[in-house]
Symmetry: C2
Subunit: 355 residues, 2 copies
DNA sequence: ATGAAAGCGCTAACAT
DNA sequence: ATGTTAGCGCTTTCAT
C-alpha cells in the first residue's frame, strides 16, 4: 500500500486530447473556448474532459496569457468595519467579473504595505486596490506602476502619484459635522484621530493620510468660521488600542472639550465608553459626532449624529475602475469623490456651561 | 512614440544569468536560494539581479514546484464581524508563514461556495479554509479532497467529512447562556437565528449549520432542565435583512417572549433595536443574551450579557492546522473545540410578570 | 478546422 | 559547484 494512489496526478489537456483522440491543440481550444473548433470536436473533447474529471489549471493559463484574473487588495485591517465593507464592495464587482481577490492587511505601516505589494506583484495580480498607508510617500506604490500593473487607490490619495483614486467628500463631511457643533455654541471642540503622528499638530502641517488631512481641513474651516481657533484642538496619533486614555485627557482637566469630532466609528466608540465611565451624559455634558454610520451609533443613548460614507460603493467603484484599466482603458487618471451624507441623531446639544 | 517602452518585458532568470555571465541554473539557484552556489557566484547573480530589477515570477515557480504558497479562504460574508475577525486571525498566521490569502464570500449559499472552491482550486491554492455553508451536504467540499488538497473547516463541521475543523464550544455556551435565563425565572424564552430554514423547527431535526445545531442543543438542554419545553420557542430562518420583523413577532402578541437568546451579535442588535422601538426596557421588560462580544454590547444600556467566542483564535488555529497539513502532516483529522467564555453584564433579570 | 511544435519563467534531474 | 536539458500545463504561432 503506497501513497501513490492518493497522489493522483492532475488531468491535463494532453490527457483529455488522448482520450478524445484529437490533438492537444484542439483539445485546448475546445476546453479554453478560443480559436476555431467544429461542433462535434468540441462535443467529443468536452465529454472526454467530463469523463476524466478535467479541471483547468488556471496558473498554467496565466503563464501563457499573462493575465491571472486575480486582483490584489491591501487594506489597513480587515477587522476594521470600514475596510470589511469596502472589501465586500470590491469583492462583489470583482467576482462578478470572474476575477479573484488576494487580500492583505498593511496595519497602516509602509513596511507591511511594501511587502504585501511585492508578494502580490510576484503572484502576477492583474491590478491592485490599495488604501495607502502613507499619502506622502509613494515609493512603495511605485513598484506597482513600474511593474506596469494598474493601481487604484481608495479612501486616500497619494501626492505626486498619477493614479485613479476613489475617496469620500471628507472635507465637506467634516465641515458639516463640525458646523453642527459650532452652531450649537461649542468652542472647545476636539478632533480626535488615530492617525500615526508625533507630538502636537501644527496648523498647516501636511498629514500622512489624505482622508484625515481632508477631515482636519473641513474641521478647521468650520472652526475658523466660528472664530474658535483658540479653543479648538486637533489631537492626532492616539494609539488604536488606547484611544480611551487620550479621550479621557480631552474630557478632563481644567478646560475639557465640550464636543468631540471622532475621525472614525472605532474612535467614537472609545469616546462614548470614556464618557460613560466618566459619568458624562451625551449630549448634555458632551456632544459627539463621528464619521461612519456604525451599527451601534443608532442605538447608543440618544443616537449618535454621524456622517455616513458610502463605503461599499467606494470599494465597488474602485474595483470597477481597476477592471476598466485592466481591460485596457488608458485615459487620464480620475479622482472620484463620493458624497457623504449627514445623519442627524441626538448627540449634539449646546455646551452645558453656555446655558 | 509607440507604447513599446511601457510594455517592458519582465526581467527573467535568463536575463539575470546573461548579465552575470553564469548559467541559467546557477542564477536560478542563487535567486531561488536552493541547491549549492558558491558565495561569489551568489554575489554576482544578486548584484546582476539588482541591476536589472529582477522580480521572481511566483507563478512560474508554482508551475514547477506545485506549491503556490497561497491558501484559499471562504467565509459567509466578510462584512460580518465574526468572519472579519476570523479572517484576520487566519491572515496573521498565514502571512507569517510566507503564504498569501485568496478570499471569497459564499453568502452562505452552496452555489457560491461551490463556485468559489472551484475557482480557488483552479488557482492551485495549497489548501482551503472554509466555513461551510452546509453542514449536511459535503458535495461541494468533496472537490477539495478529491483534488488532493487539504481542507480545514472553521466555525462549523460537516457530517461524514473526515477533515480537520476548529469550532467553539457552542453547545456549552448556549447552555450557560440559557441557564442564566431559566435561573432568573424565565420560561417563555426564544432562541433566534438567521439560519436558513423553512417553517417551524421540529425537535430533533437536523440543522444546516452545525454551530447553530449545537447552540440549539445547548438551549434545549437548559430548557428541559427547567421544564420549560412547552413555552420555549426556537425561531430559525429569520431573514438577515429583516430580523427586526421576526423579533417584533416574538416580542408582541398575547404571550410574548420574556427573554431572547440571539444566535449572533448581528441578531442581538436587531432585537435590541426592536426592544427600543417597542418601548421595552432591558432587562426590566426583556432579558437578552447573545453570542459574540460585539463592541456595542458593552455600552448598550445596562450592557448585554454575552458568550464570547475566541474568534481570532478560531481563524488562527484553523490556519495553523492547515499549514501543518500542507507541510505533510498526515495524522488523523482533528476536531478542535475552543472554549467560549461567559461575560455577564446587565441584560438579564427576572421576567416582569413573575415578580 | 485541425495538428505539430515552440514558448511562458521557473525548478529539477542529470551530467560534468 | 556549475552547466545542460527537460519538463510543469497551458496558449499560440505556423503549417497543413
Amino acid at each position: 500500500m503506497g501513497k501513490a494512489s492518493t497522489v493522483r496526478r492532475e488531468v491535463t489537456v494532453g490527457d483529455v486530447a488522448r482520450e478524445a483522440n484529437v490533438s492537444k491543440a484542439t483539445a485546448a481550444r475546445a476546453l479554453g473556448d478560443y480559436g476555431a473548433v467544429s461542433d462535434d470536436m468540441r462535443e467529443r473533447v468536452h465529454s472526454a474532459a467530463e469523463r476524466l474529471g478535467y479541471r483547468p489549471n488556471e496558473l498554467a493559463r496565466t503563464m501563457s496569457t499573462g493575465r491571472s484574473h486575480t486582483i490584489g487588495m491591501i487594506v489597513g485591517d480587515i477587522q476594521n468595519p470600514f475596510f470589511a465593507q469596502a472589501t465586500r464592495g470590491a469583492a462583489d464587482v470583482i467576482n462578478a467579473a470572474g476575477f479573484d481577490l488576494i487580500l492583505s492587511n498593511s496595519d497602516e505601516t509602509a513596511h507591511s504595505e511594501r511587502k504585501a505589494i511585492s508578494v502580490q506583484l510576484a503572484k502576477q495580480v492583474d491590478g491592485l486596490l490599495v488604501a495607502p498607508a502613507s499619502s506622502l510617500d509613494a515609493s512603495s506604490l511605485a513598484a506597482v506602476t513600474e511593474a506596469g500593473r494598474p493601481l487604484v487607490l481608495f479612501d486616500r490619495t497619494v501626492a505626486d502619484l498619477a493614479v485613479d483614486a476613489v475617496i469620500a467628500s471628507n472635507r465637506t463631511g467634516a465641515f458639516e459635522l463640525t458646523r453642527l457643533l459650532t452652531s450649537a455654541g461649542h468652542r472647545r471642540i476636539a478632533f480626535l484621530s488615530t492617525l500615526q503622528h508625533d507630538g502636537d499638530y501644527r496648523p498647516g502641517e501636511v498629514l500622512l493620510s489624505s482622508s484625515v488631512a481632508d477631515r482636519v481641513a473641513g474641521f478647521e474651516k468650520a472652526i475658523a468660521l466660528a472664530g474658535a481657533e483658540g479653543t479648538a484642538i486637533i489631537r492626532l496619533g492616539a494609539p488604536r488600542d488606547d484611544v480611551e486614555r487620550v479621550a479621557a485627557e480631552l474630557l478632563t482637566g481644567s478646560e475639557p472639550a465640550t464636543a468631540i469630532v471622532a475621525s472614525d466609528s472605532l474612535i467614537a466608540l472609545s469616546v462614548y465608553r470614556v464618557a460613560q465611565s466618566l459619568g458624562l451624559q451625551i449630549p448634555r455634558d458632551l456632544s459627539l459626532v463621528t464619521f461612519d454610520d456604525a451599527d451601534w451609533t443608532a442605538l447608543a443613548g440618544p443616537g449618535i449624529t454621524v456622517i455616513a460614507q458610502p463605503i461599499h460603493a467606494i470599494g465597488a467603484e474602485a474595483a470597477r475602475i481597476l477592471l476598466r484599466r485592466i481591460a485596457g482603458d488608458g485615459s487620464e487618471p480620475v479622482l472620484r469623490v463620493l458624497d457623504q451624507t449627514l445623519i442627524e441623531r441626538g448627540s449634539v446639544a449646546p455646551p452645558r456651561s453656555s446655558t
